[in-house]
């Protein structure tokens, strides 16, 4: 069910401000692609345009095309709600719904879209929590509030919630930046397992994390503050980290700026 993503000549705007200019890249199915680059270079913006969450921001709009196995996500008759069901997202800070139990959090994407059958919901909740490596820790307290879990558990709960709607792609916006090293490791292990079934795009500020989990790395940079961010280069992670084609990539990865 994983699908590949083709981004072509993508320009992303906030109102009149061009935030990201001319991004063209391909994300292969069943792989992890890491987006790296200094703050403000537009990697999160690109990520959010992959599931049309960018346009939720006031004035947010996009030019160019993004295709999911050939289907244009920005076609005029494409419903953004359907795009978001195909392309799930995990955010920087764990954000379980505070009024809902662990079970209800995972079931939310289905319930809020009209799925009521109890057996289906039970099955999906168990399967998703297992998929997020959280089942054994919470199976005895599914009716307890999701907000009562630790930060790392909450983030895995959010991953379970995202995969419960059975998307083809999973976007992660710095999913470990609010977590401690042990929880980070748990999430990274999980990402490696999830790529068997999903196409994953992850934004990270952590070079080691990009090197550990990703198959492909894309480096974004911006010429100066106020200038649009650009995709500098994209390639297999091993190449980008050992033998980058551009000096700026090497400088960034080695920690000389950013």
């Amino acid at each position: 069910m994983a699908k590949r993503i083709d981004v072509e000549h993508l320009d992303v705007y906030y109102g009149d401000f061009l935030a990201v200019h001319d991004v063209t890249m391909t994300v292969p199915a069943r792989s992890v692609t890491a987006l790296i680059g200094p703050s403000g270079c537009g990697k999160s913006t690109v990520l959010r345009s992959l599931n049309r969450m960018h346009e939720v921001t006031r004035g947010g709009r996009v030019e160019g095309s993004i295709r999911l196995d050939g289907v244009d996500l920005y076609a005029p008759d494409m419903d953004p709600v359907l795009v978001r069901r195909m392309v799930g997202m995990v955010f920087q800070r764990p954000n379980p719904f505070p009024t809902m139990s662990i079970y209800d959090n995972v079931a939310a994407g289905l319930r809020l879209n009209g799925v009521k059958d109890k057996a289906t919901l039970d099955g999906v909740v168990e399967q998703s929590l297992k998929g997020a490596n959280l089942w054994t820790e919470v199976k005895d307290r599914l009716r307890k509030p999701g907000a009562g879990l630790s930060g790392g558990q909450q983030q895995r709960l959010c991953i379970a919630r995202a995969i419960a709607v059975q998307p083809q792609v999973l976007l992660m916006d710095e999913p470990c930046s609010a977590l401690d090293p042990i929880s980070t490791l748990a999430i990274e292990d999980l990402i490696t397992e999830l790529k068997a079934a999903y196409t994953i795009v992850i934004v990270t500020h952590n070079m080691q994390q990009a090197a550990r989990v990703s198959d492909q790395t894309a480096f974004f940079n911006l010429a100066a503050t106020g200038k649009p961010g650009e995709l500098i280069e994209v390639g297999p992670t091993s190449t980008i980290f050992s033998n980058p084609g551009v000096k700026a990539t090497e400088d960034y990865i080695e920690g000389r700026f950013g």
């Binding site: 599931n51 969450m53 939720v56 006031r58 709600v81 359907l82 795009v83 978001r84 069901r85 195909m86 799930g88 997202m89 955010f91 800070r93 954000n95 379980p96 719904f97 505070p98 009024t99 809902m100 139990s101 939310a108 994407g109 809020l112 879209n113 509030p145 907000a147 009562g148 959010c158 919630r161 995202a162 709607v165």
Partner: protein, 299 residues
């Protein structure tokens, strides 16, 4: 100016520990005093009303009978007619004002952009500042003046609606603004449509705050007197029809018994009626908080 590397500038902080502890103590004392000053009138009112009025509340007829056939020199009868009127009017007012108020707040927080939103927000501000007697006179002018209807309970409700809407809008708005944007995004990113996100995620998260706002609004309209004096004069008889005849209420009953000043029986009824109103508002508040707590997941 250049600082040489050999001579470091050493900073000595003045010792202000003593001054700081003293200021701290002064602030604590004045805060405690302010609290006491604020509580004195409240406690005074509660003690006076309770001591003067509590006795009648325990009489067998108070919650059951009306004042029908009882004049100011006689003891006896009850406040049932006024309790009924106040509860019916407050209920109908809430039924109209809460949906309008909550939906307006949802519009302002979730959708409102540009001119229309600014205009709506400005109107709510104006409505907040409208004195109750002006709202009452406005409804009187339309209801009696323009349409030529009789003064009935429902006209009172309309005036109260005008007073309750801004309270509900403002408190609901504040509560919706407190709902973190990450929750809306989390829901949208699951492929949940926007209106479902608002109804099933945003509103439940803000529920307890919204309930508090509604209760504040209700408490305000239940004690409101000006619209009642203009649109719903007192009567001693039980009345349940909002659309014909006068409807007695607790504030107008208090006013009536006050106007019989000097008559011991009426004065005692006045205090008892006031206490009844306080008790009703208190019970509603507790019930509302309980509902809000049951509605959200326990920690």
């Amino acid at each position: 100016m250049s600082v040489s590397t050999t001579s470091r500038v050493v900073v000595t902080f003045p010792d202000r520990t003593r001054a700081r502890t003293q200021r701290d103590r002064a602030a604590r004392v004045s805060m405690a005093l302010a609290f006491v000053v604020a509580v004195i009138p409240l406690a005074w009112i509660l003690v006076t009303v309770t001591t003067q009025g509590a006795q009648l509340l325990f009489s067998s007829t108070w919650w059951v009978n009306s004042q029908r056939g009882i004049n100011s020199t006689m003891v006896g009868g009850g406040a049932r007619h006024a309790i009924n009127g106040t509860l019916i009017q407050a209920g109908v007012t809430a039924l109209i004002a809460v949906p309008i108020g909550v939906l307006t707040a949802v519009y302002l927080v979730e959708f409102g952009r540009g001119r229309l939103a600014r205009a709506v927000s400005f109107m709510v501000d104006i409505l907040t500042g409208v004195p109750s007697i002006v709202a009452a006179l406005f409804v009187y002018a339309v209801w009696v003046g323009t349409f030529g209807f009789q003064r009935v309970g429902f006209a009172v409700c309309l005036a109260l609606v005008l007073l309750m809407i801004p309270v509900v809008v403002r408190t609901t708005e504040e509560m919706l603004k407190l709902v973190p944007n990450e929750l809306r995004e989390a829901s949208l990113a699951l492929g949940v449509p926007r209106w479902t996100t608002i109804v099933r995620v945003v509103l439940p998260t803000a529920l307890s705050g919204i309930v508090t706002g509604v209760l504040l609004g209700l408490a305000r309209v239940m004690g409101e007197t000006a619209p009642l004096l203009i649109l719903g004069p007192y009567t001693k008889n039980l009345a349940t029809d909002l659309f014909s005849g006068l409807m007695p209420t607790l504030p107008t009953m208090i006013n009536q018994d006050r106007s019989e000043l000097g008559q011991a029986a009426a004065v005692e009824r006045m205090w008892a009626t006031a206490l009844t109103l306080i008790v009703l508002v208190l019970v509603l508040n507790l019930a509302g908080r309980l509902v809000a707590r049951l509605g959200s997941v326990s920690r």
